[in-house]
Amino acid sequence: MIFGLEFPAIEQLVEWPNAFGDEGVWYGFNKIALINMVALVATSLVFILAARRKTLVDGTLVPRGPRNLIESAVSFIREGIIMETVGADGLRYLPFLTSLFFFILIGNIFEVIPFFHMPANARMAGPAVLALLTWIYFIAVGLKHQGLKYFWNSVAPPGVPKALLPLVIPIELLSTFIVRPFSLAVRLFANMLAGHILLVTFSVLCITLFSATLLALVLPFSFAMLVGLTGFEIMVAFLQAYIFTILAAVYIGSSMHAEH
């Protein structure tokens, strides 16, 4: 209780009971799992709708309807992320990066969807899994392109004077194999959790101020902040999906060539 506001505990904001499976079991299915499932189903549905023949203007390759949206998104990932960070060699990783982008974006956007109001990535589990998979993926790409020399090239970049290696190796080891996945996961998780707490704070404030007292005079400001922050969170949802995806692309690109 702060200044008469009953603010819920953090557990109440982010923890959800299982719809099936007892608490603590590995297969317990809760709201977060549901959002992740919706991310899979919604993405698949939009892509399937976009791939229909009807989404092309008759007899041409001109897109219309949902194909415009999906092609813009795919083009954004292909041209704006892969070509900018990896180059044409990285186009083969389009499926992984597209999946990352859509899975994170839809998971994030549930922050502002009525009756859900919970970004899946405000829980550490999702970002941790995605960061872990990205970590495994870029190491696998490195091994594929450079063989076992990848590990040495990663910690001792070519061109570094030998005298500096004792300093560079621990730093690179830490930054490439420990900090990268950790920062990927924490960045996404922390941003989404902070946004979620911010929206909850202003929602609670609006509810509390909705009373027959003088405090109701402050309500419009609080509500305006809530509306503004909701728009801001939509931007953050997109931005975080973009940042995660572009960093994954950068890490994959750096694994492909020793000079990185």
Binding site: L40, F47, A120
Partner: protein, 190 residues
């Protein structure tokens, strides 16, 4: 040094022991939950597989086909532009050839015209000269005829006048010869 370290370790252990029951009682909302990690992993892997084999290929295929069509159309446009330039050059070359041919034809026509003109002028001058010559001949003949007629008439008049003066016949042929000589001398002086 070792004593200090052992004191620190002992203190840390004591603090940890004091905190351990609290940590066990409170669930940290930041730590990942296994079930959420499991479902998150399952759904992401499913999306990745779907994306790779089902969802993305038709979209990318259409995009690539469109990009290829754009490239082909651009190449065709560039080829058409090149062809247009070549045709313009060919046309201009033809035009220049026609121009030079026209100039040469004009020159040829002009020179032929000049030659023809000269020929015509020469022929005309020859005609004129011939006409002038024939006219001169005719004039000369006419002169000769007129002189002879004049001489005869003058001789006749002179002989008649002389016979009238002397009241006797005069040698007509000698008088005529005399008059003709005079007329001829007078004609040669004109």
């Amino acid at each position: 040094m070792l004593a200090t370290l052992s004191v620190i370790v002992a203190s840390a252990t004591a603090v940890a022991n004091e905190l351990t029951p609290v940590v066990e009682e409170t669930k940290n909302p930041i730590l990942p939950v296994v079930s959420e990690m499991f479902w998150s992993g399952v759904f992401f892997m499913a999306l990745w597989a779907m994306m790779k084999f089902v969802l993305l290929p038709p979209i990318v295929k259409t995009m690539d086909a469109r990009a290829q069509k754009v490239r082909d159309d651009q190449a065709a446009a560039e080829a058409a532009a090149t062809e247009r330039v070549a045709k313009i050059e060919q046309y201009e070359a033809g035009l220049a050839g026609a121009r030079s041919e026209a100039v040469s034809l004009l020159e040829q026509a002009r020179s032929e015209g000049d030659a023809e003109r000269r020929t015509q002028i020469a022929a005309a001058e020859a005609d004129v000269a011939s006409l002038r010559a024939s006219a001169a001949t005719e004039i000369a003949d006419a002169k000769v005829r007129a002189r002879s007629e004049l001489a005869s008439s003058i001789a006749d008049i002179a002989v008649g006048a002389a016979e009238a003066v002397v009241q006797k016949p005069i040698d007509r042929s000698a008088q005529v010869q005399l008059v003709e000589d005079y007329v001829n001398r007078a004609g040669s002086q004109n």
